[in-house]
Symmetry: C2
Subunit: 269 residues, 2 copies
């Protein structure tokens, strides 16, 4: 049987209600998205604080460790215990802190803020990514997926201020995550994939967010050949998509889309 860490199940309410006064002078009870600090400790060492909606904190923490490549495999993670009384996620690992120390040392040597260094690290390995050439996505499947995504965006519809991500196989949504942070939603999907033993080669990654460099790198590192967004993209996102050969589709809403890269995998009617 595959290894599965021992996990808490500590999700937070997605929305809260506050009063606001509208242009007609009416006081309106307005749903707003939750946002909570979650400090991640690995083997009792503080790693960082993530601001999150808190809907899937265990998967988020595992996916964060995966996408920052602080752990190599789900087998290295023994427990993830989230406690909202102290806004903390305690992770215990099998092999201890060696990799974390090494990465942190490297980061400290070169930069004061993880974001920059993390990105540098991610770029280093990009040449080794191989996405399956034979995977195919038809326009009909894309349209069916876009239809299904629409009904899943409940928090966004209610309160706004969140981004959503979905992992799909064909038009079937396997998991859908929303978070106040664009990258948190991606990381939570990466965590879910490890937890469920799901691989990327026959999947589609959908995001409501923009296709910036980090978003494209993360999808490619998860081994997913199809990246679909409701939003636009940046030049660096486009450059990296070309480099790794991912099939990238932007502005995908209803029956419209723009196919940017990896066109050979996309099947038009």
């Amino acid at each position: 049987m595959a290894h599965r860490p021992r996990l808490s199940a500590a999700s937070r309410p997605a929305t809260f209600s506050v009063d606001a006064c509208d242009e007609a002078g009416q006081v309106i009870a307005t749903p707003i998205a939750g946002e909570h600090p979650l400090t991640v400790y690995v083997d009792k060492r503080e790693v960082l604080t993530i601001m999150t909606l808190g809907a899937a904190p265990e998967a988020l923490v595992i996916g964060f460790l995966r996408n920052q490549r602080l752990v190599d495999s789900i087998d290295d993670i023994l427990t993830v215990q989230v406690d909202w009384d102290v806004n903390a996620a305690a992770v215990t690992t099998r092999s201890g802190l060696a990799k974390l120390e090494e990465r942190t040392a490297k980061r400290t040597a070169t930069t004061g803020c993880g974001q920059g260094t993390v990105f540098g690290d991610l770029m280093e390995d990009i040449g080794s990514i191989r996405l399956p050439k034979e995977a195919r996505l038809s326009e009909a499947t894309l349209f069916a997926l876009l239809d299904r995504v629409r009904v899943h965006e409940s928090i966004y519809k209610q309160a706004g201020a969140v981004h959503g991500c979905a992992l799909a196989k064909g038009s079937e949504i396997l998991v859908f995550v929303e978070d106040v942070g664009r990258h948190n939603a991606v990381d939570a999907i990466a965590g879910w994939m490890w937890l469920e033993g799901v691989t990327g080669e026959d999947k589609i990654f959908y995001t409501t967010g923009r296709l910036t460099s980090e978003m494209v790198i993360k999808a490619a590192q998860m081994g997913i050949p199809f990246l679909v967004s409701r939003s636009g993209l940046t030049k660096m996102g486009h450059d990296i998509a070309n480099q790794v050969g991912i099939t990238m589709i932007g502005r995908a809403v209803n029956r419209r889309y723009l196919l940017f890269t990896g066109t050979e995998r996309f099947v038009r009617p």
Copy 2:
């Protein structure tokens, strides 16, 4: 005469054109937003890499150093030289690295990624923020400002994938910045304010982005009593807005808005 650092003027083109295939099978030349890594060096020491549109890199770097409180005053900054051939911004300071060392040491001790620690630092001082109670914003001025903001969002209209921020006095936009990063646009405004000797007490801060905790903290730290967004907000953004007593308006588009906090400064007709 007020001190002004010696600056390069090294902006990058805002948009680039790539081909995309639309749902009708037509190849469309599509404008996309630029995104470039910019590594910040302070007195030859690497601090971090920012992913940016590159429209106002000098102001961005100064505002980043200000908002992360790595420098106390514009007087501490002697030069900011941005060189896109090597994607680097070289900053020289008057007082050397003492403050940076201290902050970096602290950060390194507590976290592997600056984002978390930076946030912790920001929260520490929030109790000392005093925003002017007597400032007023009328609904008519808000509507006039929203009208003017609309015509300024050129990159967004063309290519999407960017957030815009404006600093206004009444309905007059003093500066408008767009960037691929929500916080970059805020930081660039903070840098511009220092460069131009502009203070916040009679200004309005407008953003297209969501009002999360960090956005509210940054506006309050710039001393600006009015925060207006086209988008929604999070619970923590709302909590902090209440705590610092900022006047926060969300969902502000055309003739609609929701007034959330600091209602005593807002004048309805």
